[in-house]
Structures are given as C-alpha cells and as structure tokens.
C-alpha cells in the first residue's frame, strides 16, 4: 500500500512519467523505500485501473513518447486518507544479525572480519547522509519551510540509524574479542 501512496504523493507535486517517477524515488526516498521501474509501471497501471490516476500519451521530442500520469480527485482523497492513517510497522531485514546468531563456531577472527566489513559499509552510508544534509539543491526544491524540515528529518533519521549501528557494532566487537589472559 505504501508504494501506491508514494506514487500518489509524487504525482500530487506534478504529473509525470513512470521513468521520471523512478528517478524521483531514487533521488529522495530511495534510502528507506527503494523501488524498481517494473514496480512503478505495474502500480501505475493498477492505479489507473482503480481510477486514482489518469494518463495521457505525450509525444517525445527526440526522446521516446511517454505516458504522463496525473492524480484524479479520488487519487488526492486516497493520498490524504493514507497520510492520516497510522503507519504500518517497519519491516527490517538484517542479514548481519542473522549471521551472528549462527556464528558461534566460526573462528573469532573470521567473524570480526565480517563485522569490520559491515562497519565500513555503514561508515560509507553515513557519509552519504551527511553529504545529502549539506546539499542545498535538495532543500531548495522544498515548497515551504515545513517541507524542508520534514525532508531534513528523514535524512537525519538515516544518520541516527548509522550512528546507532556503529555504536552497537563497536560494543559487539569488543564483547566478541577473545580475551588474552582469559581462562
């Protein structure tokens, strides 16, 4: 249901094609709601079927022709309903934790290498978030101060998540380090 709503959300800003929608996802919510083109096109078809969006074929000048989708009145209602509804639970899939649970027999050094690799990936992700926070271009697209605040908060969430992940990782690695003088 969230994909549906997100498409409606983007289309409320301005009517556009499936291809451009994919770009918008990537450029804004991609870090916490990734999508592929196929998903978008499928959902657009379903949305049109359900009368929440309407499309028109538009001649592409040089580029391929494209189908431009716009919200209908019912689409706007649906979006509004979704915005007010309680959120669905977060769905987390954490391959590292899964591995950890089964790693008791793995030599400490091999496990620590896995943890270190994961740590590096988080550090990189964190840097991305920091970069996004300082990109003026992103926030200049906001149509109100409140909207900019919301966008900033969503990026700060990613940052906070990375920090929590790093803190936990460091504790975990310390706890798993074989004790030198240990019995």
């Amino acid at each position: 249901m969230s994909l549906r709503a997100a498409i409606l959300g983007f289309l409320r800003l301005d009517p556009t094609s499936g291809y451009m929608l994919r770009k918008r996802f990537e450029g804004s919510v991609g870090s916490f709601w990734s999508v592929t083109q196929s998903q978008i096109y499928r959902e657009l078809h379903a949305l049109e079927e359900d009368g929440l969006v309407a499309s028109e074929r538009e001649p592409g000048d040089g580029k391929p022709d494209r189908r431009v989708y716009a919200l209908t009145a019912r689409g706007r209602d649906e979006l509004d309903t979704w915005l007010r509804a309680p959120v669905e639970p977060v769905h987390l899939r954490h391959p590292l934790l899964l591995k950890l649970v089964f790693a008791a027999e793995l030599e400490p050094a091999a496990l620590d290498e896995v943890l270190a690799g994961y740590r590096a990936s988080i550090v990189a992700t964190r840097a991305d978030y920091v970069a996004r926070l300082t990109m003026k271009e992103i926030f200049s697209l906001a149509r109100s101060k409140r909207e900019a605040t919301l966008w900033r908060l969503s990026i700060e969430h990613g940052l906070a998540w990375c920090d929590a992940e790093l803190a936990w990782l460091d504790r975990a690695r310390r706890a798993l380090r074989p004790k030198r003088g240990g019995r």
Copy 2:
C-alpha cells in the same frame, strides 16, 4: 540467499520438520528476519533439490506424519561459506519516513498523532526486547558462552534500534511542533 542459510543454520543444530523450523524462526530471529511457513517449505524443497539437505518421512504418533530434514555434507559446507562471506546490505523499509516526506500539507496535529502512534508501537517493541533479555530460558539453550553472547548481542541490537528511533522521534516531534509566538 539468507533464508537458505538460516535454514541450514537451524538444521545444523538438529534435524527437524518445516513446521518446527518456523517455530524456531519465530522464537529467535523473528524480529529481524521474519518468515512464513510457505517460504520455509519452498526453500526446503529447493535445498533438497540442490542436495544441501536430505529428508525422511517420519510417522507421527498421534500428530500428522512429518518430513524431517537434515543437513548433508554439502549443506554444511554451504553454511560455512555463507558465514565467512561479507553480509548483504540491510534492506530497510520505513513507512513512517515515507509518509513524512509527503506530509507537508497535513495539519501539524494530524501528523503528530501519526508520530505518537508510531512512538507507542516502538515503546511496545522495546519492552519485548527487554523482556527477552531477561528470559533465562532463551540463553539456557545456548551451547556455549560465546553463543549466548551472540544471541544477547542480537537482542541488544533491537533495543539500541528502538532507543535510536525514540530519540529521533522526540527530536522530530519537537521540530514539527507549531511555534506559539512564531513569526
């Protein structure tokens, strides 16, 4: 690939049926790797096809007959390979953040209600983690001190995640509260 590996991981401990595997998932890794029965059965069939597990039909005494799966040598190898491999990236889906990004026009009160509802759900989740940490029964199943440490760390991760989520939420709600004397 992770589901595959997790099944191998459970089967290494002892051979069992699809049904019991589902229970094991629920009782241990469910909070960061949820599965349904259908997934498990499908994967078991695929694993047998690939020769990583072998099954035998076992008469159920009173209960329905069941098919008990056990690791093969190749299955053990596969598990070991997976344990040493770098982890796949975490895949996060965060419906609240998605909503936030499109919520600029929503009245502050309605948005805050959504945030408050989410907060309550996190508080509840957090309590679950705390409860699990103090359940002796869980850790008494560990076959080594190291294994217990690993399990504890995976629960602590959930706890740390909840705390990060709560801290971010409180900041967010403060930032989104309409200012009384505002310009």
